[in-house]
Amino acid sequence: MPRELFERKIKQIQDEILLLGSMVEQATLDATAAFKNRDIPTSITLVEEDQMINDKRFAIENAILIQMATQQPLAHDLRLLASMLIVTNELERMGDYAKGIAKNTIRLANREIPTPVRDIEKMAELGVSMLHKALSAFIKEDIKVAVSIPKEDDEVDTLFNKCYQSIVNNMIANSKIIDDSSLLLWIVHDLERFSDRVVNICERTVFIKSGEMLEMSSNDDETE
């Protein structure tokens, strides 16, 4: 069998990426739940556990570099390995967003402020579901699924705009809560970026298969 060893190594790396993905998904959902419940102890644990995500990212990166050095990948194999490196980086940044939410929960402590909790929860659920589908499509190189996911990012963007407006309105109405409310802005911003990065993963999936770099930005202008 030509390149059986190489194929096995690639499969191993792909499994690790899926594992990293589920770690990120879990961290995001846990951080959002902890925020909703103002659960400080859990948030503290989540901040520490981000180190595991970073470690795993470096382990995967190292494995990919070893394959590049020793197997001289070309064409599709080259695009695959390069994309896996980039996607691993995206996942690690997404893990940082989960950490960010947990940190802001700790900063918010028990102080009560008007919060669009429902919408924030929805943004997190959508983002995680998008990530799950996108990673599966990435591993399977399924372009059809990959190009269908950015639509859901539009929904996230809509929720983001709604939350942003609501929080700003609250800040205008009550200047005493500006400091704490600005922490909320960071949280919804992180969740919006989370979904954008999922779109990047979908772009990479198309690139592996076709060699074309397709920009799949959503219809709304991004806020950064």
Binding site: P2, F6, P73, A75, G211
Partner: protein, 264 residues
């Protein structure tokens, strides 16, 4: 790709086929070699890569059973035309072979041989020095040009053969797996040399080494077995494009399979 080629073509093969007796080596190859570029020819063994480049300098004439059909144009002139002398073609299209094959003579005589047989009238010492410098060998041998060519190391011998080919002041240099008998350092020296030479010459290199083709060439031609002829081993041109394209995003699945090592 088209822009690369319209930058004047120096050698052009049109529907070229070669058979040895009744056995066809390759069939219907058409490709254009642009001036001052390095073109790599890759593909599995036995598909006619060496045979192809030997058409460009009419070395196949030396094999009695070889039959060449189709045309090869060099600077617009058909080198298989009726009034063309193969000897003259070979002065202008030089060749370096797989195993270094210097003559059992001194370094000086090795280089001057090509010039002498072609009746060179100029200053021979200057020609020898210039050729050795172009082949990046001058500094290593300048102290004793009377030393036998066979006393050099493998990598040096191959550079001597390159200098020898350069001494006839060709326009094109054909290289048939020039580094396959050399160690990695000597191989890299040859590849660097090729980059320097391409400013003045056009280089066509046959190589089995995928990494060499991707490192060293501007364009790559992939020649493989004709899938429509299951009982024979006949070569055809599968894909010919910029090297970057072939090695990152080849158009043909066969090319992709071959360069990823998933052939067969």
């Amino acid at each position: 790709m088209k822009e690369e080629l319209s930058n004047s073509t120096i050698i052009s093969a049109k529907n070229l086929s070669v058979s040895y007796g009744s056995q066809e080596a390759f069939h219907g190859i058409t490709l254009d070699i642009p001036r001052n570029k390095i073109v790599a020819i890759i593909g599995p063994s036995g598909c006619g890569k060496s045979t192809l480049i030997r058409c460009f300098n009419r070395m196949n004439d030396l094999v009695p059973s070889a039959k060449v059909s189709g045309d090869v144009f060099y600077n617009g002139q058909n080198i298989y035309g009726p009034n063309v002398d193969a000897v003259q073609v070979r002065r202008q299209i030089g060749m370096v072979f797989q195993k270094p094959n210097p003559f059992p003579k001194s370094i000086y005589e090795n280089i001057s041989f090509g010039a002498k047989v072609n009746n060179y009238q100029g200053n021979m010492d200057e020609l020898v020095e210039k050729s050795l410098k172009q082949a990046a060998l001058w500094d290593e041998v300048k102290d004793d040009l009377t030393k036998s060519g066979l006393a050099l190391s493998g990598g040096q011998q191959q550079r001597l053969c390159i200098a020898r080919a350069l001494a006839t002041e060709p326009e094109v240099i054909l290289m048939d797996e020039p580094a396959s008998a050399l160690d990695p350092i000597a191989t890299l020296k040859i590849e660097e040399l090729m980059q320097e030479l391409k400013e003045q010459y056009t280089i066509i290199i046959v190589t089995h080494n995928m990494q060499q083709a991707s490192r060293a060439s501007d364009l790559t031609a992939f020649i493989s077995l004709d899938r429509t002829r299951v009982d024979d081993r006949v070569g055809v041109l599968v894909e010919y494009d910029l090297t970057e394209k072939i090695f990152i995003k080849p158009a043909e699945k066969e090319t992709e399979d071959y360069i990823s090592g998933r052939f067969g």
